[in-house]
């Protein structure tokens, strides 16, 4: 694959809230995709969004239901594999575009699990299609069904203030949503204004995720979003749902590099509002950062916004 499209570009190509449920939404790419990873672990993709679920002899563990339509289709897909009930739904974080739609699982008795700040967020900004968590935790939680488990790990604010990474066992794959991507971490951010994102903790968070993976012997991640790329003939194709654990390190390096570039520029006396133009015109920034994103990894206007946002972080400390 020659390069990866940004998720922002991907969303420009489709209406995520109105995607056809049974058609190709990009030529050659189905709107819905089910993948089996082994050891009872599956990935379900609905347009650009993806979750994972685990089939066990004692029930099913589902992650982010995405929305009402997606959850209904997911339930049908699970039913094709097992007649076991969904026992747990685990939220990756509190944002509606991932957490909505769980009622269909609640109706069959599933327990909903999330980091405790997600519950506070969901109460503060309620959505009619978001089921509130039944079980919350502070640092980590293990959802167990027989020999299978889903570990939920919290490392502080990142993209919202309750995001967790998950490890599905025994498959031993890490599910990471919004703050990392597969197959590589060198991908432009979907929304460069970094809505509800706590930039000051992104590097420590990703370092903690890397360390967790090292301790747990995890070598593969599953991404919460679809990546797109091009083959050698220039035809668009879906990127892999999985990638090496180094993709998390790459995302951490992405942030370290962009923070360093902005900070260095500001130390030379450049005003925060002038930093984006200066960096985008810099051959050094191009070789140290932009080139690593690849030819499809960034758009200049989008990068301008991200650099301005990082400038605010450097100046305000948050």
């Amino acid at each position: 694959m020659k390069g990866l499209l940004t998720f922002a570009t991907l969303l420009l190509l489709l209406l995520v809230t109105a995607g056809p449920a049974n058609a190709q939404f990009i030529p050659g790419i189905e709107f819905i995709e089910l993948e089996e990873f082994g050891d009872g672990l599956y990935a379900f993709r609905y347009g650009p969004y993806r979750n994972i679920f685990m089939i066990t002899a004692e029930g099913v563990i589902v992650t982010d239901p995405l929305d009402v339509k997606a959850a209904k289709i997911l339930r049908e897909e699970i039913a094709k594999i097992t007649d076991q009930p969904v026992k747990y739904v685990a939220y990756s974080h509190s944002h509606w575009d991932h957490a909505a739609g769980g009622q269909i699982f609640k109706d069959e008795g599933a327990k909903f699990v999330a980091q405790e700040k997600c519950l506070a967020n969901m109460r503060e900004t309620p959505h009619p299609d978001v089921v509130l968590p039944d079980l919350t935790f502070a640092d980590s939680y293990e959802v167990e069904l027989g020999a299978h488990s889903l570990g939920l790990y919290y490392f502080g604010p990142s993209h919202d203030d309750c995001m967790v990474v998950m490890i599905a066992r025994p498959a031993n794959m890490m599910f990471i949503v919004d703050i990392g991507s597969a197959p590589t971490g060198w991908v432009m951010e979907y929304n460069p204004t970094m809505s509800d994102t706590h930039l000051y903790n992104m590097v420590p968070y990703l370092k903690d995720a890397e360390e967790l993976a090292r301790r747990a012997g995890v070598t593969t991640i599953v991404s919460g979003h679809l990546s797109l790329g091009f083959d050698d003939d220039g035809k668009m194709q879906a990127g892999s749902s999985t990638g090496p654990i180094s993709a998390i390190s790459e995302k951490r390096q992405f942030w370290e590099a962009i923070y360093a570039a902005v900070r260095t520029e500001m130390v030379t006396g450049t005003l925060v509002e002038d930093v984006p133009d200066k960096l985008l015109a810099s051959s050094e920034f191009k070789s140290e950062f932009l080139d690593r994103l690849g030819p499809n990894g960034y758009e200049k206007d989008e990068m301008w916004i991200l650099l301005r946002r990082v400038g605010s972080y450097i100046t305000s400390g948050r």
Binding site: D97, S195, Y200, L271, V272, E273, I305, S312
Partner: protein, 316 residues
């Protein structure tokens, strides 16, 4: 992308919120424009003063028992700030009140700490400053959750917290007996404005309208007629020449700024509800409806839609 920094004329006296520096010591500071003093202290009456350095402002209250200062801004600014206070009184600074926890406002307080000042902030600010420490930031000695009052005799400063707004610990303050309200970051006299940072870093949009309504209610209940912000603005004079805008504005600026946000959030909501993807939304909005706001900049407004879109799509 080439950024257009020209001021958009609305046919009225123009107002420019200068590309405001939010920059702590160690980074470039916005110098005062050539037509204005690099710093100045303005008496607002009843013991209340506004200290401006470059494009930033803090306020201080001089009472019989000492001085209450707000945000020290940075090390260099705080040194001048202290000198300016000393020109008015030889009384010590008894209290320093932080408006928020952002480094561009709260760095530099040690000069006041050294003379025994007690530092006051919302409890969330203390948590933030613990989480993201800076060597030149003095930690608050006293924290509060909803309301707190400090006084130096007849003069007092009342601090109020209305939830998430610009950051998670912004205090609205009322200085008495002047009865002037300080609203840092979110309001810049003399008129409602388009924010200078189009990425809306640190804005909690989901509570912003409620926040403004709470502040409006407070101003009404307390009979506040004048509001001061934490930044200066440049406006055009009669001959079109740039001049420093006034430090204060009528309290109606609070409602006007709330209306700006309602219009912005509403415009994006309309396009979002019609199914427009995030990057198409700016093309669906008639930006001329915002042309009367200070700092009107269509490109900035377009960027803001990306942030506002998230409020509708992800809830925050």
């Amino acid at each position: 992308m080439s950024r257009n920094r020209q001021i958009q004329s609305s046919g009225h006296a123009l107002l420019l919120i200068l590309c405001i520096s939010f920059i702590p010591a160690g980074y470039a500071q916005h110098d005062a424009a050539s037509f204005m003093a690099p710093y100045e202290t303005e008496a607002l009456g009843d013991g209340l003063y506004a200290f401006r350095i470059g494009m930033r402002r803090s306020i201080f209250l001089v009472g019989a028992e000492g001085v209450i200062a707000t945000d020290p801004l940075n090390v260099e600014a705080a040194t001048i700030y202290r000198q300016e206070i000393a020109k008015i009184t030889d009384k010590p600074v008894k209290y320093v009140a932080y408006s928020s926890s952002f480094l561009n406002h709260v760095i530099g307080g040690k000069i006041f700490k050294d003379q025994g000042a007690t530092f006051v902030a919302h409890a969330n600010c203390a948590s933030n400053l613990t989480e993201t420490p800076h060597p030149d930031v003095v930690m608050p000695d006293v924290t509060y959750t909803d309301r707190h009052e400090i006084s130096v005799g007849e003069q007092s400063l009342e601090l109020f917290y209305f939830g998430l707004s610009y950051g998670n610990c912004l205090s609205v303050m009322i200085a008495r007996p002047a009865n002037i309200m300080l609203i840092a970051n979110l309001v810049t006299p003399p008129k409602a404005a388009v924010p200078s940072d189009p990425t809306l870093a640190n804005y909690y949009l989901h509570n912003l309208i409620d926040f403004f309504r709470s502040v409006e209610n407070l101003a009404s209940e307390r009979g506040v007629e004048r509001v001061i912000g934490s930044f200066a603005a440049i406006q055009e004079g009669r001959e079109g020449e740039p001049q420093l805008g006034p430090a204060t504005a009528a309290a109606s600026i609070i409602k006007d700024q709330r209306v700006f946000w309602e219009e912005m959030i509403g415009a994006v909501q309309t396009a979002f509800a019609a199914g427009a993807p995030a990057r198409v939304i700016p093309k669906r909005i008639d930006w001329t409806q915002f042309s009367e706001y200070a700092g009107y900049d269509e490109r900035n407004l377009e960027i803001m839609t990306r942030r506002v879109y998230s409020l509708h799509r992800i809830g925050r």
